[in-house]
């Protein structure tokens, strides 16, 4: 017994230089994420008995500010965890994230990571995250409401519009009140509105929301314009969303979904666990986003990659990298799937999961991945923010002629892009 204790102490001392260490990781995954990192920490402790993992969850908007100021003041946590595009913003503001390419090479089996995964993880010639969880977002509809109005899960946009109309007029929840809406969307912040548009665009099988890899603005290309117009009309002319949607961000959108106010909504792979048991109590179907075009396959959207990054000034950088690598191991990935609903490995046990969770875990739908303009065009976030303001303004004060609005906006975006790309 004593011998083993001594041995493990010696091992820990060798591995890390100090005994009893705490690795701190900052994320925005809430209670699910905390449970996940707790569980992974216990697994990790099997080989690193003196290391404890402490995870702290911040609301997303606070997460940025905290990480940036902590890295800039040398008070960084050991690891940070978030969606790739958010980590890119950290890198642009701090230029102080460790290159994970070496650590990734040191991991034995990485065959499950695709070329696209690795592209997303890289920014400015550096691998800034180890990709840990693919983010899949499907389209959901309340099954009891579909039943109540005598409809099937909508396959095309025309179906979806018809269903939305019925959801609003036929009292699908049977409470005798005119208080239900077709869709739950969000629009308040740049990422909110464009994120919703992304889902419509990629879900319809198109490849770019605003700008293509060559830097061309695509919004007035016929198919893009078509989806964009329908998207904007959903907020305005059609009125399929709650009237205060313009001010909704994630929190409010979830309130509308979970409060049973809207019948069709985004379902992220991380939402399903909660909605299976509480809030929606399993009363929903997940599928692909509605099809807009006969000749394009509609899809579940791969909306990016969550991954782990290590600041250069992490207090225990080497150990932090070890833990980051460990997050790609089979046990850690299995825990990621169970606690947060997503992973990247293809050798995980999924049979015990609910049907809806398997839909994501086995990637049963058609998949269409984001084009990740952030990693190609450094000015993209600013361009997107300008685009957001244009669209939001149009939702607040709908123009007479949507086509004219779209072509005019496209021109303005071209000018803006030219301006931004120059400096």
């Amino acid at each position: 017994m004593i011998k083993r204790l001594l041995a493990s102490c010696a091992f820990a001392a060798l591995a890390t230089g100090v005994s009893a260490e705490e690795l701190v990781i900052w994320h925005d995954l809430g209670d699910n994420g905390i449970a996940w990192f707790d569980a992974v920490g216990q697994e990790f402790a099997k080989t690193h008995p003196d290391v404890t993992i402490t995870s702290v969850s911040y609301p997303t908007d606070q997460w940025y500010g905290r990480v940036i100021s902590a890295i800039n003041t040398d008070t960084a946590p050991d690891l940070i965890y978030n969606n790739y595009e958010r980590v890119i913003r950290i890198e642009t503001q701090t230029e102080n994230l460790a290159d994970m390419a070496g650590p990734l090479d040191a991991v034995d089996d990485t065959g499950f990571l695709t070329e696209a995964d690795l592209n997303v993880a890289s920014y400015g010639g550096k691998m800034i995250i180890l990709p840990i969880q693919r983010v899949q977002m499907g389209f959901g509809a309340r099954s009891s409401w579909l039943e109540a109005v005598g409809e099937e899960f909508p396959a095309t946009w025309e179906d979806a519009k018809r269903v939305a109309g019925k959801f609003m007029t036929e009292d699908p929840d049977g409470n005798g009140e005119d208080d239900t809406f077709g869709f739950a969307l969000e629009a308040a912040n740049p990422r909110d509105l464009i994120h919703m548009l992304d889902l419509f665009i990629f879900g319809a099988g198109l490849r770019h929301t605003l700008i293509d890899p060559e830097g061309n603005i695509v919004i007035d290309a016929p198919e893009h314009a078509e989806v964009l117009k329908e998207f904007l009309k959903t907020f305005t002319e059609y009125g399929y969303v709650a009237p205060d949607t313009i001010n909704h961000s994630f929190a409010e959108m979830y309130q509308v979904i979970e409060g049973g106010r809207a019948g069709m909504f985004r379902v992220g792979d991380w939402n399903v666990k909660k909605w299976d048991s509480e809030a929606l109590e399993g009363d929903f179907i997940v599928g692909e986003w509605p099809a807009h075009f006969d000749d394009k396959e509609n899809a579940v959207v791969i909306g990016g990659m969550r991954g782990v990054a290590v600041p250069e000034n992490s207090p225990h950088k080497d150990l932090a990298i070890e833990f980051a690598q460990f997050l790609l191991s089979q046990p850690a990935q299995q825990l990621a799937l169970e606690n947060v609903g997503a992973a990247v490995r293809d050798d995980l046990a999924v049979d015990d999961l609910s049907e809806r969770r398997q839909y994501f875990a086995k990637a049963q739908g058609n998949l269409n991945a984001y084009d990740f303009p952030e990693s190609l065009h450094a000015f993209y976030p600013e361009l997107e923010a300008t685009y957001h303001r244009k669209l939001l303004d149009a939702i607040a004060n709908p123009p007479e002629d949507w086509d004219a609005f779209i072509s005019q906006t496209a021109e303005e975006m071209r000018e803006e892009a030219a301006k931004l790309s120059q400096g």
Binding site: D31, P59, N175, Y254, K274
Partner: protein, 278 residues
Amino acid sequence: MIHRPLWLRVIAYAIAILVSLFYLYPYWWMLLGAFRPAEAVLTDPLRLWPERLDFSVFRDIATVGGVSIWRYLANSVWITGASTILSVGITALGAYALTRRPDLLAFKALRSGFLLTMMYPYMLLVIPVYIVMFKIGLLGTYAGIILFLALGPIQFFLFEQFFRSIPGEVIEAAIIDGASEWQVLRLVVMPVAMPVVATVTIITFLLNWAQWFPILVISRSPDTYTLPVALLNMTGELGVNFQGIMALAAITTIPATLVFLLAQRRVMQGMADGAVKG
């Protein structure tokens, strides 16, 4: 003057009652929201009495962001209590020194500097305070939070005003009798200052109980959050719990409400005095 027409009095009372309802109704709605399931509120937002008392929410908010609600409560009590005591002590001594000897070197500058600080947009002052806390090694500590909360304008004005009102002859007489400054403070000033100390203590407690932004900024983890900060963090990307927000809002509000109701006369008088001076 006393005998005003009845109809006029009825109208006056009607207006006062309506205005009071405007002030009080949100509290009642908050309490109802804490004890009614969210679906029930959706169906009937205006209901004035709960269908049944639903306590399930207290299980939901037993932990917020991975930290126990008791910890937030303990933090609130500790941070508010400690910063209040510190604030009263430090501000009283400072205001006393500045009123007794405004002629001393740098005292005028100190007073102006303090006033300048209080005029700076508070929310924007807090941001560079992050950098200061980092530089002096108090980032993420209770000490950092408590020290920052120990500075406030109304405390200073109330003390300054009070010390100015003490007649100079009383103090001079004590000095002529051979009292040291410390004795003057302890035996002459302190006994008469007790009421104003009590007033400032209660007001500081109420003000610091409500603080959230400095605590959010100086903290490095939820371990040092107080109840209001926990409330802020209840909405995240993973959804929002309406009933939980109402319950936590109620838990945050009730202690302040009780303290105020018990000391309402003193608090209102003190706030008015502090403002009139400032």
